[in-house]
């Protein structure tokens, strides 16, 4: 009677294929996974918008136009994560055969589209804070990197302790110095929101708060393939409605809110009468009266949309065109927007990672997913709190507390999903000056204690900090900084033993500068024939 249905299985399989590598990538504190995994993240929509990656946005547009919001059930890690929470929540509920009962609810379209409009408008005027606070991808990143990663490290440390007893050091003890309070709070809030909203109302987050969900919903209501109910066969048993995480199926009038449907296909699997299908059913193909019932879902509320037209097809085309036009505009506007922001120049600016090009650019592009924080082998990137203002909250900054940026490393740029950190080559990194070392002789050990130190120069990869004779007749040497060689890696600052204020400190470049690589010295052919003693 019932036809075999592979759609849900396929969706689950694809979701796993996306989710598992992304999850592991975010907790991969030993950097065991190949850097290429990060290309999965290129498909994420908010990073793509901020990165101005038009090709990806076009692809996503086509995907949602043809298939509906597959993105929300497969590609988006936060979406899949909510499905997992839902699943975990169902464990032990045997009476319902391990599934939950949802019921149709009216869409919260006012909230959804006003919020979306606000986010879009703010973003156009250069304030992307609200967008990032609600961006599903970076929220998932913050949960994974700030909560899951410490958990994994903790387990690793226990195992490492056990293995060390038998002289095996395949696993080794790791301290997470980059787990900051700000990161924990950011990840904790996101996790709490996801758990609470999922447990209460399924995919409510995706259909009210999520800017990506709202954006996709504008297109998905016109998608070519969609779920629809076969009136002839339906016996109104409500199994599909109860299985719908999006609360989008209304059995009462056999309608489905395709703006909220995330294509999970649970309904298709739930139906015993084979009366609910995912099939090619474009809106403009006016073949049944179903469409009229589906159509009047509020879509007049978004400021991005054109005037309402009674003609579905025209409206569809206009919406599509507007969205297509708005997206690049958002990213373009975000790029050149400083005049809207007011110049509240703070005294202290964060040192931004090499490849972020400038503080302003980085603020506009970085989603704060903390992937770079996870992968930085030197653990020099820290999730930021409010110390550099709200506009920099939860983005990574470099702090040379006890480590520094490795001269031979480009990992942060390699993993960044949207080129917020962008390096073309290792040489690019080696010639990028993120800040300049500033030396304070009055605090230096050599001056205050009259003893040798030189730790700063020792750690300087370019010898921008080098040692020169302190005083005539003394064998002591003091550091001297050559700013035109300094890349701002923080080697000097990280090792300087002076406290509370160190004697050498990196002052950030708000706009990164170019420096020359240290001149290649001639390799001398040194012959030594004697022992010399």
């Amino acid at each position: 009677m019932k036809q075999a249905n592979y759609l849900k299985g396929l969706r689950v399989l694809l979701a796993i294929l996306f989710f598992i590598p992304i999850l592991f990538f975010f907790v991969d504190f030993r950097v065991l996974m190949p850097v290429s995994v990060h290309s999965l993240l290129h498909l994420q929509i908010v990073p793509a918008i901020l990165g101005g990656m038009l090709g990806i946005l076009l692809l996503q547009f086509i995907l949602v136009l043809v298939f509906g919001r597959i993105y929300c059930s497969v590609i988006c890690p936060a979406g899949v994560f909510q499905d997992i929470i839902n699943r975990l929540f169902c464990i032990g509920k045997k009476k319902k055969k391990g599934s939950r009962r949802f019921a149709y609810r009216k869409p919260m379209n006012y909230l959804r589209y006003i919020l979306f409009g606000l986010i879009a408008a703010l973003a156009v005027f250069g304030f992307i804070e609200l967008l990032l606070a609600l961006d599903p991808y970076s929220n998932f990143g913050r949960i994974a990197s700030n909560l899951f990663r410490p958990t994994v490290v903790w387990i690793n440390n226990i195992l490492a302790g056990l293995l060390a007893k038998v002289d095996n050091y395949t696993l080794f003890h790791v301290s997470l110095t980059t787990a900051t309070t700000a990161g924990l709070i950011g990840g904790g809030i996101a996790l709490a929101v996801f758990i609470v909203m999922t447990i209460m109302r399924g995919r409510l987050f995706c259909n009210t708060l999520c800017p990506v969900g709202a954006l996709l919903s504008l297109v998905s209501r016109y998608s070519l393939f969609r779920i629809s109910i076969d009136r002839e066969k339906c016996i109104s048993c409500k199994l599909c409605e109860q299985s719908c995480k999006a609360e989008a199926i209304n059995v009462k009038d056999l309608s489905i809110d395709n703006s909220r449907c995330v294509d999970c296909f649970n309904c298709v699997s739930s139906c015993k009468k084979d009366s609910i299908h995912y099939r090619f059913k474009p809106v403009f193909k006016k073949e049944t009266e179903d469409i009229k019932k589906e159509a009047p879902i509020a879509d007049t509320l978004t400021p991005n949309k054109p005037a309402v037209s009674s003609n579905t097809r025209r409206r569809f085309l206009a919406t599509g065109a507007t969205i297509a036009a708005t997206l690049p505009a958002v990213s373009a506007a975000a790029r050149s927007r400083n005049r809207f922001r007011g110049s509240k120049e703070k005294d202290v600016n964060p040192v931004t990672p090499p490849g972020s090009i400038s503080l302003e650019r980085f603020k506009d592009k970085c989603t704060g997913c903390h992937l770079c924080v996870v992968h930085c082998p030197s653990q020099v990137l820290y999730p930021t709190g409010l110390q550099f203002g709200l506009g920099y909250a939860l983005k990574p900054h470099m702090a040379y507390i006890d480590s520094y940026c490795n001269y031979e490393c480009t990992v942060c740029a390699d993993v960044c999903p949207n080129q917020a950190i962008k390096l073309t080559s290792l040489d690019d990194k080696k010639t990028t000056q993120v800040g300049i070392a500033e030396f304070f002789l009055e605090r230096c050990i050599v001056e205050t204690e009259n003893t040798d130190c030189g730790a700063c120069s020792e750690h300087c990869p370019t010898q921008a900090v080098h040692m020169e004779l302190y005083k005539e007749g003394s064998t002591l040497t003091v550091p001297v900084v050559e700013p035109e060689l300094c890349v701002g890696c923080g080697g000097c600052e990280s090792i300087c033993p002076v406290r509370p204020d160190r004697a050498i400190i990196i002052k950030s470049n708000v706009v990164h500068q170019r420096v020359e690589k240290p001149a290649e010295e001639e390799v001398l052919d040194i012959e030594v024939d004697d022992f010399g003693f």
């Binding site: 040798d452 030189g454 064998t475 300087c496 001398l524 003693f533």
Partner: protein, 310 residues
């Protein structure tokens, strides 16, 4: 003295006498009037690292003189920097490998290799080539990136440094071999056997803020001294040390110095270094400070040195 002990001693003494007598006879037979004494220090020049190590150990009486069967051995190379072997920032990996093999051949229960690096430790271990070489030779490569791998010990003879956290592998070891590479150093002026001790301690910042040179000398007075100091001077870093910028900082002088005497070995290494770059011994104050702590003498005339050219 118990009777049994008396007999034992007597037998042992008798055996010793017999052996000595054999040795003397052998010397007489070969018509060699000078009985070769084992040198205090051996310097080898002109060979490949592994061959020079062979030669030096042979001259010193073989590895078995220093490493006994069943001992837990630590070899402490310099792995401080994320640099390739050619840039002479870290000890030659081939040399480390050869020494590990010798220790294992001598019956060491296990050989552990570690260093508290300056750059990211995994990058240093990997890019120096030492982790791979050591594992190949059968050593345990141990991390030193976390304070939990270090244990506090007292340094009763230290002037400033009275206690330090030292890597547990070394605290537990029965014997260890100090295996530095000869380098110029911005702070300590010379980085060799004494300076290499800094990689066994956790808190280097204390050294830098409390008279680096004195602390280097102090840590060398820790009761567990290396049985041997083997200086890798195949490639040396004569400027921009200890990290170096490029191949221009490197001189290939194809040498190796080995001795249980740390001051002697560093003084000799400094002599070698001076042929490439001028460096006054007065500037390398940890040598003088070590001498006053009775770690050895900078006067090389007082010791028996064997110089070998290959």
């Amino acid at each position: 003295m118990k009777r049994r002990d008396f007999i034992k001693t007597g037998v042992a003494a008798g055996a010793a006498l017999t052996l000595n007598f054999d040795g003397l006879q052998a010397a007489l037979k070969s018509n060699n009037m000078v009985v070769e004494q084992v040198p205090d220090m051996v310097a080898v020049m002109g060979g490949e690292p592994e061959a020079m190590l062979d030669k030096a150990l042979e001259e010193l009486g073989g590895i078995g003189k220093f490493i006994k069967k069943g001992q837990k051995v630590v070899i402490k190379p310099n792995i401080g920097w994320d640099r390739k072997p050619e840039l002479a920032a870290n000890t030659n990996p081939g040399l480390v490998k050869a020494l590990i093999k010798k220790c294992l051949d001598a019956g060491a229960e296990k050989v552990t290799v570690f260093d508290q690096t300056c750059d990211n430790w995994q990058r240093c271990y990997d890019n120096s080539g030492i982790a791979a070489a050591a594992k190949e030779a059968g050593a345990i490569v141990m991390p030193a990136n976390e304070e939990k791998y270090f244990r506090e010990v007292t340094i009763p003879n230290g002037v400033i440094l009275k206690k330090a956290k030292i890597h547990e592998a070394l605290v537990e070891a029965d014997a260890w071999i100090n295996m530095p590479i000869l380098k110029n150093h911005g702070g300590a002026k010379l980085s060799c056997a004494m300076k290499n001790y800094m990689g066994i301690v956790w808190d280097r910042r204390f050294f830098h803020s409390n008279d680096l040179q004195q602390c280097i000398a102090d840590i060398c007075t820790w009761e567990k001294k290396p049985v041997l100091n083997i200086v890798d001077a195949y490639r040396i870093m004569h400027q921009n040390g200890p990290q170096g910028k490029s191949a221009a900082d490197v001189a290939t002088i194809k040498s190796l110095i080995a001795s249980p005497n740390i001051i002697a070995v560093d003084t000799a290494a400094l002599g070698m270094f001076n042929q490439v770059k001028k460096l006054d011994i007065a500037a390398v104050t940890h040598l003088g400070k070590g001498e006053s702590l009775n770690l050895g003498s900078t006067d090389l005339k007082k010791i028996n040195i064997k110089r070998v050219r290959m």
